[in-house]
Symmetry: C2
Subunit: 161 residues, 2 copies
């Protein structure tokens, strides 16, 4: 195996995966700080944004939509319910599932979350060119496909004596 | 406020922050799957890699180096100690601090972790050009600086009635 670690190793003393992680943590921190001004959290805001403001969203489709685990989602929904931001209603189209619907307060809070997110996107839009963004997405795509491609590790167990 | 959400909104149905998050989660999943083959975790491997294989590393400098909270670090160190991968020794240069030192098994496990990480970096190196990587890092830099710049949210509280 030829190892070329120089190129990827020397950016701000962080490797590419560590730099991705720290950038995501910085975004998470920013969102949580903004959310805390409204006694909320990033996850709560993100959940509100994932609920259809008009007709509500079936609880079963929220988790997959958001990419979160059912237990973590149900904790968040409980908090939102306690805050009076959502209510659970029977789903007219499917008797076995529950519809998560925003209350008036929930709709207002959803708008606040949207504003925060859009301010961030606006700032990104102003400072990242379209062509750089395209390259950025392509690199994320490549990282994603390598990370989900098990082939690179197929013989991994053999390296242990 | 002018809102231009079109450009950032339409990549694989994910916004830029969600795409960053899902890429980081894919990397995390990959590392954890590889680590599980050795009855380990990504965090354990990452911790082993952060310990100087020669002289060990003071416990107090490990957390900041890795960007993790002290409580989470001490949980990991406890696990590594129970597995016999590290030992705690008095720091000859600072009586109040403890040196985390790798055992023979810890050194072997560190090599395994290193191999996994380098295989990933090798695959990235093969498929991402130097110029694209440069752009990628610049965009991450911009995202980071916007996320840590509180200015974009200064009037945020005013938008709530």
């Amino acid at each position: 195996m030829s190892i070329n670690k120089k190129r990827l190793k020397s950016y701000n003393h962080l490797t590419i995966d560590q730099y991705l992680r720290s950038t995501w943590l910085a975004i998470q921190k920013m969102y949580n700080e903004e959310a805390s001004k409204f006694n909320s959290t990033m996850v709560m805001g993100f959940t509100l944004l994932s609920i259809d403001p008009k007709g509500g969203t079936p609880s079963t489709s929220l988790g997959p939509k958001m990419g979160v685990e059912p237990t973590s989602l149900s904790r968040t929904l409980k908090k939102l319910e306690e805050r009076g931001l959502i209510v659970r209603k029977p789903n007219p189209e499917d008797g076995r599932s529950v519809l998560i619907v925003l209350t008036k307060e929930g709709l207002e809070m959803r708008d606040v979350s949207k504003e925060v997110v859009l301010k961030f996107y606006d700032a990104l839009d102003e400072r990242i060119s379209r062509s750089d963004l395209k390259v950025f997405y392509q690199v994320l795509d490549t990282i994603n496909s390598i990370a989900t491609d098990k082939e690179i590790f197929i013989n991994n167990k053999e390296i242990v004596k």
